[in-house]
């Protein structure tokens, strides 16, 4: 019952020379010396050999076979190689070694609205963006009305996109992408944008695409979306495929791996983004008395950092166990009720503390993403920095049952008035 192959890769490997970029250059002088000496060294061919540890293997010996019509979800933490795999398969960059064979036209959506030009009108951008994604002019013309109707922007076709709201731009961009008729579709977490109604519409559309017998490669951090769209899952860690099989099993193993991951010392984790002049060294959530958090009780989130940079802000995102974002708390978004506390020196550990009066999460398992930002750049971003369980508790004296399947993730403090005989 094997159908023809759509994608076949053999020992696909991609390495990047990272040098000191992103980590070093603490002073302008260092940067200038490096800039001045590098072209000379390159021109004379006397390249200094890359120092130890300066080669990043983003994809390591990946061999895959994907059949036509399969819908495959690719799962993994930051830096696992998911995006690099998509980039190599969409021909944006060449592999360092190994090879891939792809049968059929590939449409890749690594970003929504690539190539949109703010000065051009909606109509012009539909044609431009369609062409960029690889559609033929005749094809775009044929689908034009459908695209416009899907985006629900008939009235703004002749308006320059710079006058659109960001939601409108995303809608237009996605509907062009959604009408891409390639045999293979490569999608990288593009659904994380846009309003919820439109998101649902897009998901519906993705589902349709999947049912049309086209091959789809899909990357998302949201396991519930992945589980609802894909039959097969590929779990990647550090550039390698560690598991490949039916989606439910792979998602389960991925979630279990997150739990072991958080046992690890946070400072030793490499799946992080940012400049890393300061880093998250610990994340915790406790009830006021130090016990595990419970629904309805006060909770205190604590983020410990290795130091401080001027203007550092901290952002905590709570996600359901499956990766659906639930709520976000940002210290940069200040309120008069916030406090500041004098910290030690810039290189001494500091703590961001976020107090919640009454935790409105239903009992269950959650995870936390943490981001530290300086004034202009991300200093450190760590996904799944913490996995925690919320225990059943009381909300305004009302017990919250421990079995909450089908009840959502949040709770609202409420009061009933019931008719009685």
């Amino acid at each position: 019952m094997s159908s023809p192959r759509a994608i076949h890769t053999e020992a696909l490997t991609k390495q990047y020379r990272i040098g000191v970029r992103g980590y070093g250059h603490d002073t302008l002088r260092e940067r200038i010396t490096q800039l001045a000496s590098e072209p000379v060294r390159r021109l004379t061919g006397r390249r200094t050999p890359p120092p130890e540890g300066s080669i990043l293997t983003a994809l390591d010996d990946v061999s895959l076979d994907i059949e036509q019509g399969e819908v495959v979800g690719i799962i993994g933490n930051n830096g696992a190689g998911k995006s690099t795999l998509l980039k190599v398969l969409s021909r944006i960059t060449e592999p360092t070694s190994g090879s891939a064979e792809i049968t059929g036209r590939v449409g890749s959506l690594l970003e929504v609205g690539t190539g949109f030009h703010p000065e051009l009108t909606g109509r012009e951008n539909i044609y431009l963006n369609g062409a960029i994604l690889g559609m033929r002019r005749a094809e775009i013309r044929r689908k034009f009305d459908e695209i416009v109707a899907f985006a629900d922007l008939e009235r703004f076709l002749e308006t320059p996109v710079k006058r659109y709201s960001s939601g409108m731009t995303v809608r237009l961009a996605f509907s062009v992408a959604a009408h891409l008729q390639t045999e293979i579709l490569i999608v990288d977490e593009v659904l994380a944008v846009g309003d919820t109604t439109f998101q649902r519409k897009c998901l519906g559309r993705m589902g349709e695409v999947a049912n049309e017998g086209r091959t789809v490669l899909f990357v998302s951090h949201n396991m519930s979306i992945i589980q609802s769209l894909c039959q097969r899952g590929i779990f990647m860690t550090q550039g390698r495929v560690v598991e490949d099989g039916p989606i439910d099993g792979v998602v389960g193993d991925y979630l279990r791996s997150l739990e072991t991951l958080v046992q690890q010392d946070l400072l030793e984790r490499t799946d992080r983004r940012g400049w890393h002049r300061i880093m998250v060294s610990g994340v915790d959530v406790r009830r006021g008395d130090g016990a595990n958090p419970a629904t309805g009780d006060p909770a205190r989130f604590t983020v410990t950092t290795t130091g401080l940079q001027p203007g550092t802000t901290c952002r905590i995102t709570v996600l359901s166990h499956l990766g659906q974002p639930v709520c976000r708390m940002e210290s940069g978004n200040s309120s008069p009720a916030d406090h500041t506390l004098a910290a030690g020196a810039a290189d001494e550990p500091a703590q961001f503390v976020c107090d919640v009066d009454s935790l409105m999460l239903l009992p269950g398992r959650y995870r936390v993403d943490v981001q530290l930002r300086g004034t202009h750049q991300i200093e450190d971003e760590l996904e799944s920095a913490l996995v925690f369980d919320v225990e059943p508790g009381l909300v305004s004296g009302r017990p919250v049952p421990s079995d909450v399947s089908g009840a959502g993730v949040v709770l609202m403090d409420h009061r009933w008035t019931v008719p009685a005989l």
Binding site: Y16, P39, K87, V88, L89, S90, R91, I92, T93, E94, P95, T96, S97, G98, S99, A100, E101, I102, T103, G104, R105, V106, S108, L110, E111, T114, G115, H117, E119, L120, E124, Y127, L128, A131, I132, L133, G134, R136, R137, A138, E139, E183
Partner: protein, 286 residues
């Protein structure tokens, strides 16, 4: 990434297989791919043309204004004050013809050398033959050149200079200018992907080039002994040839045109080869 095709055009959806693998050395130019993406090329050029004069009061009039105003200044400074000779045609016409084609060269090299950098989002997020970007940018600049050439024709009629069968030869000279500019821009845009220094070098190079090219003065002012060396600057042959065909100047253009054509194609071929070499890992370094 070499590709092998098992079927032809994909609009009728016969499925083809492509093979992705690392390439080494000087890869072939894959001009066939560029041809396959000609519609994208067209849309990118259209974008550059449309965007160029958006939110300007004068719009495409700028394409006319710049060479005309410069010609006026040149006429006053070099024609009247310095009394530079102009190969037997009125100095104003001499300068205008030179400027129309020089401005095409300088504006196209100026924008195209940064075209990859300014399209970083495209290059790092979608696949298409990267050659489409600089070529589209050149096409957009060429439109300005066509408008400016129209003005030159009007001025020729007013001054009663030039015309006749020789004007047909202006077309190959314009194409030669395109080839020179594209060759230079391919080199610069590929270098700019890694070294942003290009942004600072280009304006200087263009300013320098204006003096090393017979725009404000005729080649005949230079000692005969140096003509071949001088024509190694490919724009020398282009401008002398363009004036010869449009204004009917009585100069011997055989040597500069021959030398410049050879240099132009060397620059273009090497530029394209270097560009392809950089293209392979462009998304990683840009």
């Amino acid at each position: 990434m070499p590709m092998s095709r098992e079927a032809g055009d994909d609009s009728a959806q016969p499925v083809k297989t492509i093979r992705l693998a690392p390439t080494h050395g000087w890869a072939d130019l894959r001009l066939g791919d560029v041809w396959e993406y000609r519609e994208l090329l067209w849309f990118l050029a259209l974008r550059d043309i449309k965007v160029r004069y958006k939110q300007t009061v004068l719009g495409a009039t700028w394409a006319v204004l710049v060479p005309v105003a410069t010609a006026v200044v040149f006429t006053l400074v070099f024609g009247r004050l310095a009394k530079i000779s102009s190969d037997g045609v009125p100095y104003a016409m001499f300068a205008l013809a030179g400027l129309v084609i020089w401005n095409f060269f300088s504006s196209s090299v100026g924008t195209t050398s940064l075209s990859l950098v300014s399209n970083t989002d495209l290059v790092s997020k979608v696949y298409f033959p990267r050659l489409c970007v600089p070529i589209a940018s050149m096409v957009a600049a060429f439109v300005d050149f066509l408008i400016a050439s129209g003005v030159l024709l009007v001025a020729m009629a007013v001054y009663g200079v030039g015309g006749g069968w020789r004007m047909a030869a202006a077309v190959p000279f314009a194409l030669l200018a395109f080839a020179v500019a594209l060759g230079v821009a391919l080199w610069l845009s590929a270098i700019a992907a890694r070294y942003r220094d290009v942004r600072h070098v280009v304006p200087f190079l263009l300013q320098f080039g204006l003096f090393a090219t017979p725009v404000a003065y005729p080649t005949s002012m230079i000692d005969e002994r140096w003509h071949v060396l001088y024509a190694l600057n490919p724009m020398v042959g282009v401008i002398e040839g363009f004036r010869w065909s449009m204004l009917g100047t009585q100069t011997d253009i055989a040597v500069p045109v021959l030398v410049s054509t050879v240099v132009a194609f060397v620059v273009l071929a090497s530029g394209a080869a270097y560009f392809r070499r950089v293209e392979r890992t462009l998304a990683d370094v840009i």
